[in-house]
Assembly symmetry: C2
Homo-oligomer: 375 residues x 2
Amino acid sequence: MTPGPTPVPPEVLLAQGSPIVYHRGPGFGRVLREVTEGLQWIYQTKNDIVTFTCSGTGGMESAVVNCFSPGDRVLVVSVGNFGTRFKKICEAYGLDVKLLEYEWGKTAKAADVQAALEPGIKGVLIQHSETSTGVINDIEPIAAVVREHPALFVVDSISGVGGAPLKVDEWGIDVAIGGSQKALMGSPGIAFIAVSEAAWAAHANATLPRFYWDWTAVKKAYERPEPETPYTPAVHLYMGLAEAIGLLREEGLENAYKRHAVLSRATKAGVQALGLDLFGEDVERAVCVTAVKSPEGVDGDKLTALIRAKYGIIFAPGQDVLKGKIFRIGHVGYFERADILQALAVLELALEELGYPVKRGDAVAAAEEVFTQAG
Amino acid sequence: MTPGPTPVPPEVLLAQGSPIVYHRGPGFGRVLREVTEGLQWIYQTKNDIVTFTCSGTGGMESAVVNCFSPGDRVLVVSVGNFGTRFKKICEAYGLDVKLLEYEWGKTAKAADVQAALEPGIKGVLIQHSETSTGVINDIEPIAAVVREHPALFVVDSISGVGGAPLKVDEWGIDVAIGGSQKALMGSPGIAFIAVSEAAWAAHANATLPRFYWDWTAVKKAYERPEPETPYTPAVHLYMGLAEAIGLLREEGLENAYKRHAVLSRATKAGVQALGLDLFGEDVERAVCVTAVKSPEGVDGDKLTALIRAKYGIIFAPGQDVLKGKIFRIGHVGYFERADILQALAVLELALEELGYPVKRGDAVAAAEEVFTQAG
């Protein structure tokens, strides 16, 4: 029950345990075409997709080094750990970072972004789903504000895409970054980026140094008669991702969004039924990860350690400033209703063991009510 | 029969098709410890190992950005396509590259490196096994020359390590770069680097920009009570690589070297028995890939295409300046004697079909002789 890597469906495991296809030629070409078209469908975009063998962080770095030049001024909107990471990446490459920073748990506001968007800002970088706090930023109105300004809009949706709506073309997102290992139910190791025409135009003039991350090299390799990557890809992970996308296609995007929303509502109802408080703003939008305040007298780290050791279920502890103060239940990716019921049941037992008063079954019952209502 | 990614043994496929372990904590910690210790064994080194989720090229880039500063003068020794790649990476980051370039097919000479090593050169970058031509550079005497000079010695052994001897500590290699997908029999997607004390010292003062590739971040994450990577790794590929290293441990390193040498000799004897000429210098050292000159009247690209289409066996064509002029038979990694016999047999049929006079069975018989002699 961590916010990624999430469990991997057997169909995907089977694909990545199958004999390898050669990475030059029709075998891998077919896989890459399937992955690319599937990602365009999930992103709801006609923009180009580039992919890399790396973690989501590599995808974030690729966005920075492909779009900007040394000294460029950018606005980083941070609501948690991954916002801080965007800032660090930008600073590592000598960008001039203006930081719009919120307290962890808050969501970003379009009006604040508008106020911060002074002339000369070349890019706005933000998280869609901020994994460290579980909050999901309301990207649509923020995109509307950024569109009125000549800055690229760069959205890290690594733990969001496929779990929460993200309409790249309709909203006007220039660079959308995703990862294989969250809502997409693939194994970790592939980052993918949707690149708008404006982002390609910026890229053409961007002078930050890059080699492995270079988008032009990827695009050129994709345009061969049988699409390839410029350097040897993690072939098996692409084979698995193609399978995972197939599963999402069967389910349907709206159904996947709905599944995530129902699992989220049930989780939240369950923990609240135990008298626990949710952490973060706009919790009804936090469909990928539920962050819960550790109750008085219970250390969140001890709680997650106990649940892991005794029941083999992994909740994520709080990071950084929230260490011990919250715990996080991920429900993005390959999770179903029974997983939530199980997680809430072991939470009841563990809380009781740590001395927090629990009426056994309350959390589970509350979740069951949500599922029954959802049909 | 390409020089990578090579086939993946069933044990490795099974591991990477198994349920995923969480990347923070004891499950992945055990995998990462196994991988790290195994790689130290294969590299014959006590140096630190850092790993990345990426292709071998990413590993090469990590060496450049972690060891050098803008404007640093480096000596790139190039004997083919991957030498050119080292040059391009260095230039992308604004290094001052002195190029010692050999005609494709030649091997590098220690005396030439010595002559090129002028004061002020901060690093020497070279391939161990140059996949594009099949040649393997004699690293030991070159290392001896570089050791007399205050430059870091950076060796790309992506297609060499595990297939041909590489004694990192004994020879004095500061940075050795390898990949999961060649002699190690893993799936592609992990690069690993052995880093000497001198390389760490250089790294501490190196100012090229980096984030994902930063060695310090990797080292810090490895030093946690349960070793981790700083960003989500390709967990399944690490699980597979641990299994692959286990297979190599069972075989023994010297036996693996011997296996590669015997397969190489048999392949070379086979193609020569058909009257074909080997390509490249010091062919007896070229134990990972055999490069063969396309005979008069036969286009190497057509030959490899025919073999792939009609027999489902993939030989690698020539790259760049050698396109059509050579073809390459890889025998690095998960190959055994029967694979070589099969490859030579289909080569006989395909050459005959393209009008080259073949006495059927000659190539296979010559290889059989080598195997019989080897016992």
